[in-house]
């Protein structure tokens, strides 16, 4: 009979107690592993968020944003300047237009005879809309004006009514954005649900990408045609932005939008991607300096997201602390159990010493016994963890993004606030697709993670068994043999 065989036998001397010890160890080890897995999942998520969204800067005309504010529009030359700034990897220009339903515009101008000038442009020519241009379309908005739409429209005074107290029926415009790459106005890749992209986004094209609800409202699908400014466009694909506001929109290639607005080379915004997270702050400063504070406003689109990232970071820390705590608990359990077992077998240690057992053999015997217990606890615990960790990780992340959502507030929908339409103030679901991504994080335990966690428990078990066993073995045998 070897030391190992004897240790295994000893581990099962008291079967009820062994079962209880293994169960408690399994819970602690399972929890520790689940926390480690959660920690990894969150760490992975943070890295992913940093990598994808965290490196995007948004450039708006100085003093203007979307259809609000004032100042001078951005130009193609400024895009070239931005692209030359160190650490800037890509610059994507956008040109936003507001499309009004042609039939409605005709009806409105009819009822408002004599209201010429900007009034003829429908709702788009308000005081703050230099960077966008209103044009007519065959499309009908997917959003009803409702209270907010009418209130917003009244606030912008855009109909140019001359003393008329009864405002005519108003409909929400459709936002058309010319984009220089297949990204939305926050620099995030478009989520196409049907069809294809527009190919070369820097060339004129009659293709368009429509939001799902907009296409549905107008009975359009991939391949259907519609008109903007009496020109025919073909639906090349459908996208889902995740919000009603975001889906009442369409995307064109940048030159197409600029041509439709009769403003070639003019940009509403520039989406600037920096090559790495560390360079974002420096690049932002450099970009602002290169473009001039009087010409452009550079903002860090993910500033708000950083709150999410930092709160995810705190989840990461909490889960790590919980991992350490659960591990320490497992260690404490095995430590106390081994102290108890050694005390209980003091006399036996004396007998082993009397018949010539070296201290190291006695130490080894208890270490192996502890390892047998921990091994069983780990196997059961790993099974528990593999069931629990996915749930724990997503619970941690989703509950955390709920708090993050509260703090991120008005994260850019691209046109914050001032859009006359049903979007109101963006912020209902500020993280949009990111939220979905976050909650869908399923913690998958890498073998290295599991091994690391278990190795730590084994380490504690070895010390927990060795210390009391050796302390007892070093006493003169007669003292333990005599008993108390």
């Amino acid at each position: 009979m070897s030391v190992l065989a004897r240790s295994i036998g000893n581990a099962f001397r008291n079967k009820v107690r062994t079962a209880a010890v293994v169960a408690v160890l399994a819970v602690a080890i399972g929890l520790a592993l689940a926390m480690l897995v959660a920690n990894q999942a969150v760490a992975g998520k943070v890295a992913e968020l940093n990598a994808s969204v965290g490196t995007v800067l948004t450039v708006n005309p100085a003093g203007g944003q979307g259809f609000e504010g004032g100042g001078e529009p951005l130009t193609a030359e400024q895009a070239a300047t931005a692209a030359a700034v160190p650490n800037v990897s890509t610059v994507v220009g956008t040109k936003a237009l507001r499309l009004r339903n042609a039939a409605e515009v005709a009806a409105q101008t009819g009822t408002q005879a004599g209201a010429g000038g900007p009034g003829g442009q429908g709702g788009a020519a308000g005081p703050g809309s230099q960077s966008a241009t209103a044009v007519t379309t065959s499309l009908t908005a997917a959003v009803d004006a409702g209270t907010l739409g009418n209130r917003n429209q009244a606030a912008t005074g855009s109909t140019g009514t001359s003393g008329s107290s009864t405002a005519p029926a108003f409909s929400v415009p459709v936002t058309a954005t010319g984009i220089g790459a297949e990204v939305d106005t926050t620099g995030k890749a478009l989520a196409l649900t049907q069809g294809t992209g527009l190919g070369d986004y820097t060339a004129a094209s009659t293709g368009a990408l429509l939001g799902t609800t907009l296409a549905e409202k107008n009975g359009l699908s991939v391949g259907s045609t519609f008109t903007i400014k009496d020109q025919s466009f073909t639906v090349a694909g459908l996208f889902d932005a995740g919000t009603a506001f975001g889906n009442n929109a369409l995307y064109l290639t940048l030159p197409t939008a600029q041509t439709l607005a009769d403003l070639p080379g003019e940009l509403s915004t520039m989406v600037v991607t920096v090559n790495s997270m560390e360079n974002v702050d420096a690049a932002k400063t450099a970009l602002q300096a290169a473009l001039g504070t009087d010409k452009a406003d550079v903002s860090q689109g993910q500033r708000n997201l950083q709150t999410a990232v930092s709160s995810l970071g705190s989840v990461k820390n909490i889960s790590f602390i919980a991992f350490v705590a659960a591990l320490a608990t497992a260690g404490l359990i095995i430590l106390l159990i081994m102290v108890m077992l050694v005390r209980e077998r003091r006399r036996e240690i004396g007998v082993l010493k009397a018949i010539g057992a070296p201290n190291r053999t006695i130490g080894l015997q208890f270490v192996l016994e502890a390892l047998v217990l921990v091994a069983m606890g780990s196997v059961v615990g790993a099974a528990v963890a593999s069931f629990a960790s996915g749930g724990i990780a997503s619970a941690l992340i989703s509950s955390n993004t709920a708090t993050a959502a509260a703090t991120t507030g008005r994260r850019g929908q691209g046109f914050p606030g001032g859009v006359p339409g049903g979007a109101g103030f963006p912020g209902g679901n500020p993280l949009g697709g990111a939220n979905q991504l976050l909650t869908s994080v399923t913690a998958s335990a890498s073998p290295g993670v599991i091994a690391g966690g278990i190795a730590a428990v084994f380490g504690v078990a070895i010390i927990g068994a060795l210390v009391p066993a050796l302390l007892t073995a070093r006493i003169r045998p007669i003292e333990v043999l005599r008993g108390e």
Binding site: G9, R347, A354, I355, G356, P358, N359, P477, I478, L481
Partner: protein, 235 residues
């Protein structure tokens, strides 16, 4: 050959010091069966544990074939217990969840003897103490007291020690079983040339030994020597 020289062991309990072993000296030739009698608490167990290196003397020395235990490092004392000493205790002190065979094999495992050799010798030793090695592979605590003590004796013989120290080996056994155990020890000392020192307070058992000592107030005195032949031959 065991030489005990001016052995002293004192204990402090509170502010009182007791000296159960007070300047004890004697010698035992190899192969002697000796006994120590004395009242309970007279220090018999204390003396035995000093001889077996389970305890360290306050002063004095024990020499085993001329080698002094005093100042020997713990590692060597462990080796001394393993190689030169066999213990037999009043409470048997077998490892409860091991079989008889495994118990007897244990000291040989510590001595690094190969498994097959251990097993063969353990079976042989169990046969010597009149136990069936095949029958007694089962758990120790199902054996009777006499059987357990015989397993303990087989275990004490495992590494062929020079000296067997038996502390009241018959104390937990009935008279007849006790007699058997003493006879067993007696025949072992004769057949294996093993020195055996038995502590007992049973006079009739002590009378069967070659040399009889009495421990009283920490002092060891020897009673009149008897011849081995006289002790061995039935009246």
């Amino acid at each position: 050959m065991i030489e005990v020289k001016n052995l002293v062991r004192t204990f402090k309990s509170g502010d009182r010091t007791i000296t159960p072993v007070n300047d004890v000296s004697f010698e035992l030739e190899q192969g002697t069966l000796a006994s120590i009698v004395g009242k309970s608490g007279s220090g018999k167990s204390t003396l035995l544990s000093l001889l077996g290196a389970l305890d360290k003397p306050t002063s004095g020395d024990v020499l085993v074939n001329g080698v002094s235990l005093a100042g020997m490092p713990d590692g060597q004392l462990t080796e001394y217990r393993r190689r030169d000493i066999g213990f037999v205790f009043q409470q048997f002190n077998l490892i409860p969840n091991l079989s008889a065979l495994d118990n007897v094999m244990l000291p040989m495992e510590f001595a690094g003897i190969r498994k097959a050799a251990r097993q063969e010798r353990a079976r042989h030793l169990l046969e010597q103490v009149q136990l069936d090695p095949d029958k007694h592979v089962r758990r120790i605590n199902r054996l009777s007291g006499g059987e357990q003590q015989r397993v303990a004796i087989a275990r004490a013989l495992a590494n062929a020690p020079k000296l067997i120290l038996a502390d009241e080996p018959t104390g937990n056994l009935d008279e007849q079983t006790g007699e058997h155990i003493i006879e067993l020890l007696s025949s072992l000392s004769r057949n294996h040339n093993t020195t055996i020192l038995v502590v007992t307070h049973d006079r009739s058992l002590a009378n069967k030994t070659d040399r009889r000592f009495r421990l009283q107030q920490g002092q060891l005195t020897e009673e009149a020597a008897r011849s081995r032949i006289a002790a061995a031959s039935p009246a």
